[in-house]
Symmetry: C2
Subunit: 194 residues, 2 copies
């Protein structure tokens, strides 16, 4: 909990009273490896802050192919925001890739919290603003870079994730097949030799 409040304080200054209110609106929860925080089709009832562990958000298309939308590790948020704000069935699944501790805020409690502690509007504006800017960057990269370039950039930007998730999931995140990523890696290895 302290860690979470510390994280909050990177964005907003809170009084002790406000901290108490915030704490009372949150819920701690643990998930096992493989468990789902959100399942597509369900309405996403809460947004989850990852305290420890590792999650992936993915979309299952009509052909049954999984597309990883994002990974989540310490200090990241996970959930289907679109589903939560519209209270419509989720498009995405959020699954834990290892034992994961989260702090959750439920939709109603969040709305309530915005009233009680208006600074939280600012906090989430800042968080979502960053997420938006990053997603837009990623979109552009998919258009303007080759798969190989995207892979190298990913390894560079998220070394921690690169090491902690299986390769086929990175392929899925990059929007390519696992076979093709293997190909790319092979190619990179050859280049390194010469």
């Amino acid at each position: 909990m302290d860690k979470f409040l510390q994280y909050l304080s990177r964005y907003i200054n809170l009084t002790d009273h406000e901290k108490t209110i915030i704490e009372s609106r949150l819920k701690h929860r643990n998930y096992l490896k493989g468990q789902y925080i959100v399942q597509s089709g369900d309405i996403c009832k809460c947004h989850s802050y990852v305290v420890s562990g590792k999650v992936r958000t993915f979309y299952l298309d009509d052909n049954g192919t999984e597309h990883i939308v994002m990974f989540g590790i310490e200090n990241w948020w996970a959930g289907d925001l679109g589903s939560m704000i519209t209270q419509k069935p989720a498009d995405f699944n959020v699954q834990c890739l290892e034992h994961t501790k989260v702090i959750q805020i439920y939709y109603e409690k969040l709305e309530q919290l915005y009233e009680e502690v208006p600074k939280m509007e600012r906090f989430f504006r800042l968080i979502i603003q960053n997420a938006y800017v990053n997603t837009q960057k990623r979109l552009v990269r998919n258009y303007s870079m080759t798969a190989k370039e995207r892979y190298l950039l990913f390894c560079d930007e998220y070394p921690e994730i690169t090491q902690r998730v299986p390769q086929y999931m990175i392929a899925s995140y990059l929007g390519i097949t696992k076979e093709f990523l293997s190909h790319i890696r092979n190619q990179i290895a050859k280049e390194a030799k010469s």
Copy 2:
């Protein structure tokens, strides 16, 4: 201006006093067809609300290819948010595709406005939240749908834009070449006949 306040009131309730403050922080501006609101390399100093007209946001990659990130028409916002919040050089260009009227809010004024009218935090949280959710959806679509499916969906979702912008720009938005879009349209036309 009334139109803008009406638009604001779809998200937040404002007192007359608050409206006056907001008005005083905004700037009206007109652009001609072809003019740039933001140029990549410059620091984006303001965010622009499109009152009328039409803009495109695009990224110019290392090969000199343009990639359209988004279009903007009435009631949309345009700018390089990433540049504005970090005060670093913009990656994107925002160009007017026709004579365009905008209402602009400059970075400093916006920060000031957040202090003066905290409801604006809520307003922009809601706006950016929507934008984020939409961008994420688009990202997933690019992974899970073929170019043809994306084109048909685009025509369906943004009929107004489909009619008002040249085809090669739609191709750029979809992440394909103008030639290939022409191909796709040809194919669709053939299917319609049979």
